[in-house]
C-alpha cells in the first residue's frame, strides 16, 4: 500500500502525483484528485499574496491520521496529501489530495473526507496580504459544518 503525506514549499504536479500513486498497478479503477488554490478574494478583496505557516511534526502526523481514518472507512488502494507552506500568490496551488481505489465511490468519498478533516484538524494557518494590510484568516463555521456528514461511527465498506 502506498500512503504518503508531504509538507513542502515547492509547487507540485498533480499528474505526477497520480503517476506515483498508481505506478504499474492495474488494480486501481478510480482516482479522485482535489487541488486547492489561492483565490484573489477572501474575507477582503485584492489579495496580493498569502503566507502559510504550519507546525512541523504535528501537521504531518495529523495528515497521516486523516489518511489512516479514510483508509479505515473506505476500501482505498493508495492515497497522498501534499500541502504547501510559505508565501503563495493567487492562482498558486496550495493542497493536493489524491485517492486511488478500485471503485469511484470510495475514491470520491475518501477524498472529500480527507479534505474536510484536513481543513479542520491539520495545523496550518493562513495569513493574507492585501492592499489594506496583512491579517490572519479566521476559521469558517462552514468548515466545521462540513464535518457533520462524516459524523457516524459506522464504517462504510464498499
Amino acid at each position: 500500500m502506498n500512503f504518503s503525506v508531504t509538507v513542502q514549499q515547492e509547487s507540485f504536479d498533480i499528474g505526477q502525483l497520480q503517476q506515483q500513486l498508481t505506478g504499474e498497478r492495474t488494480d486501481i479503477g478510480a482516482i479522485a484528485a482535489f487541488t486547492g488554490r489561492v483565490r484573489d478574494f477572501s474575507e477582503r478583496p485584492d489579495i496580493l499574496a498569502m503566507t502559510l505557516e504550519h507546525y512541523p511534526g504535528m501537521t504531518e502526523s495529523s495528515l497521516r491520521a486523516v489518511l489512516a481514518e479514510a483508509c479505515e472507512r473506505w476500501s482505498i488502494s493508495a492515497g497522498c496529501i501534499v500541502h504547501r507552506v510559505g508565501r503563495l500568490q493567487p492562482g498558486d496551488d496550495i493542497v493536493a489530495v489524491v485517492i486511488a481505489s478500485a471503485h469511484r465511490q470510495a475514491a470520491f468519498e475518501a477524498c472529500a473526507y480527507s479534505m474536510d478533516h484536513l481543513k479542520t484538524r491539520a495545523p496550518f494557518w493562513k495569513k493574507e496580504h492585501t492592499r489594506s494590510g496583512d491579517y490572519w484568516v479566521s476559521e469558517r463555521a462552514s468548515d466545521n459544518e462540513a464535518l457533520q456528514r462524516w459524523r457516524s461511527d459506522e464504517r462504510i465498506d464498499r
Binding site: 491520521a65 484538524r121 495545523p123 494557518w125 493562513k126 479566521s138
Partner: protein, 266 residues
Amino acid sequence: MTLTHLDERGQASMVDVHGKDETRREAVASGWIRMQPDTLKLLVDDSMPKGDVLATARIAGIQAAKRTHELIPLCHALMLSKVSVDFEFDHRLPGVRVRSFCRLAGRTGVEMEALTAASVACLTLYDMCKAVDRGMVIGGVQLESKSGGRSGEWHREDAGVEAVEHGPADDEAAVHSSGLSSDQITVRFFAELRESLGMESLTVPLAELADSRLSTLRASLLQRVQSGELLEQPRILCAVNHEVVQGDITLSPGDEIAFFPPVTGG
C-alpha cells in the same frame, strides 16, 4: 480472580458478551523496536529504500487492530470507532517507540486490539527496515492503560507494575524520559498567537510547577508570558506532543505543549 476465557473444566471458551452493557472502551498499548543508529537516521531522513516507513507501519497497525479476532482465537470481532498508531524516534534507544490507541462503544475491552496494533506496527517497521538492518529487536509490548467495562480504569503506573526495561539505555534516567534528558517541557505558540505574544517558544522546568498538571502549567504561563491571558481565550487550542488536548492531563518531562488558534489550512 477467575479467567473468563476458561470454562468450568478449564477449557478455552469464548465469553458470551450478550447482556453486558455497552460502554465506551479505550485502551493504549506501546512497544519499541531497537535498531542501529544509522538505520534510525535513514528512517528519520525518510530515505528507506521501501518508502514511507512510518505511514506504512501506521496503516499496518490500524489494519491489524481491525483483524485481531482473526489472529487471537477467543477475541470477538469488534467495530472499532477509532484506532490510532503513533511513533516517536528515540535516539537513546536507538529506535522507534510505538503507541497505539483503540476505542469503541461495546461490550468487550479493546486491549487485545491495541496490543495487536502495537505489535504489528513494530513488525512492519522491521519489515520496512530489514534490508538495511537485520539485527533489529522488538520489545516492550505492553498495555499502558484501559478504561470502560466492569473492571474500569487501569493504568500501568497506578498498578504498581515495575517499569519494564526499555531497551539497553545507558543510564536510569533515559529509561523514563521520552527523549529529552532534562525535566523541562517546551511550550510553543503559533500563527496569530505567536505574533500577539511576541514569542515563539519557552521552556519550563517541571520542578518549578506545583504539580505536573496541564492546568497548573497554564496558570503559571499567565505569569510567565506577557499577555498570557490570550492563551485562555476559548478559541485557542492546546496540543500536547502533537495531539490536541481538551481538559486537564498530567505532563511528563520532555513533553511539548503547543497553543494555537483554530486551523485554516487547505
